[in-house]
Amino acid sequence: MDTKPSPAPFAPWTDPAAVPLIRFEGVTKRFGDFTALQGIDLQIYPREFFALLGPSGCGKTTLMRMLAGFETPTEGTIWLDGQNIAPVPPNKRPVNMMFQSYALFPHLSVWDNIAFGLRRAGQDKDTIKARVEEMLRLTRLDQFARRKPHQISGGQRQRVALARSLALGPKLLLLDEPLGALDKKLRQDTQFELMDIQEKTGTTFVIVTHDQEEAMTVASRVAVMDAGRLCQIDTPQHIYETPNSRYVADFIGEVSIIEGRVDSLGEEIGIAYAEGQKPVMTRTGGTEVALGQSVFYAIRPEKIWVGAEPHPDRINSVEGTIVDIGYLGDVSTYHVRLDSGQMIKALMTNAERYAASRFTWNDRVWLSWSRHAGVVLTS
């Protein structure tokens, strides 16, 4: 896919002259026999908001802890600002971490928690005071400065943790599932707050999250991990629209995957997936395929049009039966079984309040989609 060059979008990863802030070179981490991270190569650029996404136990926290200095790589090198950081102890790194459990010091007030790092850095009283107050304002905690961590709410505590890690003005801020404990509304507010802070301070953020929506919202780039490996590193849009494997396609958002064989080449290729069914016609988007090769065709539910007849302008149309409907308020998801047995998910917005969903269980419907709607995957 081609990127638009218009008003200088923030994309240092496309610029060969850009110097990364962090560089992982063949980093492997083993705990005894267990390999937690395998051959990680990764570049993160200054001012990026970089999200790590992956299932539980895939090594996200381990990767962060290596940046913070609590773990050392078994193999490979991590460069920070052109310096190999392996021999640098945690307290000497220009990196701060916001812990998943917040790790606020219970014996210190909010004010003293935020001032903690500044005091250790030996700054003078007035500088510390000014900086702490700036942080309190930024995270809207002014009224709680004198309270102890157990006297404030979970969301406030999370902001204290954030303020404390920001106070030293690190080059790199690591956030390990920072919003995991918040309700949806507060989480969204805080996401925007984080992006705002990042914009104001120009810090580079690396965030770990279980929540793909969160990663899509805040991140400049997303890395999808699986079992200690990096599967794909790309902008949220590319990860969503052009995943490079079934795993990534399936991990981010909803997707239907059709397994088939290439049976015609040309501007559009045809993918035959069942006896007696018209092949799916699609552009390859750059994926190299050969005649007869077995491939996967991945298509997002919102790219599919559901109707009583085939859509006249769409190249692919196929008939099926609705087996399930998921009503989500703004949208409904239809689970449709094609005559070949293949299941396809399709999404429709509920634009009208009382147009009591046009289709219902066991209705026969036509699904139609264009030649650009899906991606061809070989793995």
Partner: protein, 271 residues
Amino acid sequence: MKRSMSVFNVTTLTLGLAFLYLPMLLLMVYSFNSSRLVTVWAGFSTQWYGELLRNEQFLDAAWVTLRVAVVSSTIATVLGTMAAWVLVRERRFLGRTLFSGMIYAPLVMPEVITGLSLLLLFIAIGLDRGILTIILAHTTFSMCYVSVVVSSRLVSFDRSLEEAALDLGCSPMQAFGHVTLPIIAPAVISGWLLAFTLSLDDLVIASFTSGPSSTTLPIKIFSSMRLGVSPEINALSTILISIVAVGVVVAALVSKSQIARREIEEREGQK
């Protein structure tokens, strides 16, 4: 809802408490007896307290005991805390099991054996028995108690607090001083109080390790008992009982407030 105790419960409780405390109560009452005869009540008087204050030997012994208790419990607290920290923090090091076993062994060792072995050691290395040897001996056995108290607190201590301190620029020593120690301070203090009271009323180990110039109060009391019970000893014991009781109550209060605070912190502090 009214809950009154059954007759049976009241009786057992009374008998139990009487069994435990009647002897001490009797002793305390007789310390205010004006008669020299211990078993005959002849009216209230504080004269034995006065005599006690004029008795050089007792005062010397009290001074020795106090110095031994303060110094040994302080050293024991430092060593015991260090031992606890190493045992809880460093999960894997050579000889860990042996080390932890050795820390706790003196808890179950009969005092006579501890005392005797220390005595043999002091003789072997040619250390003259005196205040120093008592302090060493008391430090040895009371540091185990401190280490037990402190390590039970450290076990529930959130490791990420120390990591956060390192992350914010502390060296490992500073992290201990600025974060770990303030948080476990109540446990350290109750460890100190425990060591202090243990040292204060130890007779067996002290009698093995004390020299002629350094008699502790329990030894003094014990030896003067052989010449017959004097009301002065009653007075002295009353004072001792009061000090120990205050110590125990303070230790209990400190650890109780510590538990309450920890509960709040842990309930609120996590997520």
